[in-house]
């Protein structure tokens, strides 16, 4: 993002934005997965960077995180796609 012209003219939003319960839960799960060495912060970042650009801008900060967490858990075989689909049915 450093010096990217597209964002140079945009004012910085200085308003405080309180975190939601969703944000805190995602943040905590990421921290726990890191502490338990299930996935590293670098894997989280790789997953965030791999979100296609047209979708990236539409996602909030922690929506990018949960998507990257899901991506990494699937990639590493911690959960299977079939399990995730079944769990989503119930969610």
């Amino acid at each position: 993002m450093g010096g990217v012209p597209k964002f140079m003219c945009e004012p910085v939003d200085l308003e405080p934005h309180a975190l939601t319960d969703f944000d805190r839960q995602v943040d905590a799960i990421r921290g726990l997965l890191g502490a338990k060495e299930v996935m590293s912060v670098d894997e989280l970042r790789r997953g965030i960077e791999s979100i296609p650009e047209d979708q990236y801008g539409a996602l909030s900060y922690y929506r990018r995180w949960i998507r990257s967490i899901a991506d990494n858990l699937l990639r590493k075989g911690v959960i299977s796609e079939a399990e995730l689909r079944a769990a989503l049915e119930e969610a």
Partner: protein
């Protein structure tokens, strides 16, 4: 090899992003630029491997200073940038 404080280094003008999926902690704007080693911050596992859950060898991490003028076409004096960069991205000048 550990680089000493005060040594002049050039950041590699390399773009691994063009060669396939990677995760790189060297910002785009600093590639190819010349700076000065401020301090060796320690050795840390290479994040380029950690990001893909591969075994990661330790790489020396340095704090490197760059005058703004050398990064943004002569603009930005007297300010400077101070960036954490891994040794494998730096060539002694």
């Amino acid at each position: 090899m550990t680089l000493d404080a005060g040594a002049t280094v050039r950041v590699k003008d390399d773009w691994p992003e063009a060669r396939g999926p990677v995760h790189i902690r060297t910002p785009h704007y600093i590639r190819g630029r010349t700076g000065t080693i401020v301090r060796h911050l320690g050795d840390f596992p290479n994040p380029e491997d950690l990001a893909f859950a591969r075994p990661a060898a330790a790489s020396p991490l340095y704090h490197v200073a760059f005058p703004m003028t050398g990064v943004w076409n002569g603009q930005g004096a007297p300010d400077e940038l101070l960036i954490e960069l891994y040794g494998h991205w730096l060539d002694p000048v």
